[in-house]
């Protein structure tokens, strides 16, 4: 796996992107307006903002699940479409989206099957991924037999199984209880360090954004714009970091930005 090289190569570059849903109709929605965003390779970026401000839409623009109405989205120097066809993306949604007719291993192997990997290679890789997310003994379980947190870890393993260069996560821990959530955050950081993947992470939790990110992007609603970008540097994070004054400072900064957004 790639090491976190710390090179400053451009992973995502968005220029003057707009997104309008249902243009020229009664239910036209200006979801995003004039988005400029640069993400460096190896970064961990959080998108935060009030509900409906366009976080998911922005993530889908990067993923080429939506096309911008205006402006450009480049990923690793290619168009987002080329990046998707090159299978540069791993995606994790709020609901694990595991296929309930596949056991854990088979779920993790789904993208590898689509890429035409041999059965032996797939098995080998799914074992490695299960080790990475620490679920070795659950390889033969079905999704419904797992807790929400475990399902989400399988979903992360699936997203990372083919070593995508960019991991896109839309409120992946949003449905988990607080304790599981904090545990998953530490796990995710460990995985991020071990794989060196670039991460774009949508959340509406202030501590989550502050804890995880190297940069927090705060969005303001109607139309969705980038309000501010907050750089965070908490170094190596553990559960103790949550009691660190530096962490407090970061959450406060993000909270104030969000208050400013809410105030309009």
């Amino acid at each position: 796996m790639r090491e976190n090289s710390g090179t400053l190569e451009e992973a995502v570059s968005i220029r003057a992107a707009d997104k309008v849903f249902n243009p020229d109709s009664d239910n036209e929605v200006q979801a995003l307006l004039g988005i400029d965003l640069d993400i460096k390779e190896g970064d961990f970026i959080s998108l935060i903002g009030p509900s409906g401000c366009g976080k998911s839409t922005l993530l889908r623009l990067i993923a080429d699940l939506l096309t911008p109405t205006a402006g450009e989205v480049e990923v690793f120097g290619k168009t987002a479409n080329e990046a998707r066809l090159d299978q540069d993306y791993g995606m994790v949604f709020q609901h694990s989206g595991l296929f309930d007719w596949r056991d854990v291993s088979a779920n993790i192997e789904l993208p590898l099957e689509l890429k035409g990997w041999s059965k032996v290679d797939r098995r080998k890789r799914s074992r490695e991924m299960l080790e990475l997310v620490r679920l070795e003994e659950f390889k033969d379980h079905y999704p419904r037999q797992l807790s929400g947190g475990m399902q989400q870890r399988v979903s992360i393993a699936r997203a990372l199984s083919f070593e995508p260069r960019l991991l896109l996560m839309d409120e992946p821990f949003g449905a988990l209880d607080e304790m599981t959530r904090e545990h998953m955050q530490v796990e995710l950081l460990r995985i991020w360090r071990e794989t060196g993947t670039t991460v774009v992470f949508v959340t509406h939790s202030i501590p989550e954004a502050a804890f995880l990110s190297s940069k927090v992007v705060v969005l303001s609603p109607r139309p969705g714009r980038i309000h501010s970008e907050i750089t965070v540097d908490l170094g190596d994070r553990t559960d103790e970091t949550r009691e660190d004054p530096e962490f407090f400072k970061a959450t406060t900064e993000v909270r104030e930005a969000l208050r400013a957004v809410e105030a309009g």
């Binding site: 889908r60 998707r84 066809l85 949604f93 609901h95 789904l110 689509l114």
Partner: protein
């Protein structure tokens, strides 16, 4: 776990049968006492209880073990009916298989092209309002003119009934995955056909199997109606036709053929249940 469940099901089925026989005989006995009136009233019973309309359950069961002369040989009624049923089963199985293929193809076609859904679905619905009695002779005459054996025409009638639930439920099942599941496949740059095979078809199974169960029983109904309306030489439809003509003298026989038809229906239903267990439930009991 599953074994105990199977035993319990068998027990319930038997119990229901016993209750039904008791109800039948009880009603018959009551009617015989009151000359077909509700006890203590002048109101007539909805169904009269004489031996012609309602033969004794025991007579019907006896009939099943009695002998019947079929051509040159004499056979126990059970064997005779089983032979007829085997033929009908073959027609139904062919009709069912074809119906499943046609239904699935229509569902996939409607999934792929929205205009096909808009254009086809109303016609698919209309197709089921054509009375079978009118359709059967048309299909069979056509098949005969082509020089096919009657079985072909009859299986086609069964197909006509079976494709419908498969197409309608199949389409709903194929459309059932969440948009986030479809987006996931898209993010892997999966082709339309990979998405169909890896996501939509497996997701459609819980919708398809109930449709298959309905289709299986319909395929038996279709085959029997087909046999009756063209007067084939064999099959359960033939037996029902023969026995119906002699009903006035031998009602137990018609009843025994009706029992055979229901047992055949139960049998195909059971086959689909077994297939369902094999394809989606096996080894997937949820731990609680």
């Amino acid at each position: 776990m599953t074994k105990r469940k199977a035993l319990r099901t068998a027990f319930t089925v038997l119990l229901t049968l016993v209750l039904f026989v008791l109800l039948w005989e009880g009603y018959k006995w009551m009617g015989q006492q009151t000359e077909d009136q509700w006890p203590g009233t002048q109101f007539g019973l909805p169904v009269s209880t004489d031996d012609l309309t309602m033969p004794h359950a025991s007579d019907i069961f006896n009939e099943l073990t009695d002998e019947i002369r079929a051509g040159r040989e004499t056979l126990p009624m059970t064997v005779y009916l089983a032979k007829k049923a085997a033929f009908t089963f073959l027609e139904a199985a062919i009709g069912f298989s074809l119906g499943v293929i046609v239904g699935l193809m229509l569902a996939i076609f409607m999934l792929r092209w929205r205009f096909a859904e808009r254009g086809f679905l109303p016609w698919i619905n209309v197709s089921q309002t054509v009375p079978l009695i009118a359709l059967a002779p048309i299909v069979v005459t056509w098949a005969r003119l082509q020089g096919y054996p009657d079985m072909v025409g009859i299986s086609l009638i069964a197909t006509y009934l079976t494709f419908f639930p498969v197409a309608v439920s199949g389409l709903r099942g194929l459309q059932s995955p969440d948009s986030s599941d479809v987006e996931l496949m898209r993010s892997y740059a999966a082709s339309w056909s990979s998405t169909l095979i890896k996501l939509r078809l497996p997701a459609a199974r819980p919708f398809l199997f109930p449709a298959f169960k309905l289709a299986a029983t319909l395929s038996v109904v279709g085959s029997i109606v087909g046999e009756i309306s063209i007067g084939t030489k064999t099959g359960l439809g033939r037996a029902i036709l023969d026995f119906a003509q002699r009903y006035a003298v031998w009602p137990e026989r018609l009843y025994s053929s009706v029992i055979a038809a229901s047992l055949l229906g139960l049998f195909v239903f059971g086959l689909v249940n077994a297939a369902e267990w094999f394809f989606i439930k096996r080894g997937r009991e949820v731990l609680k």
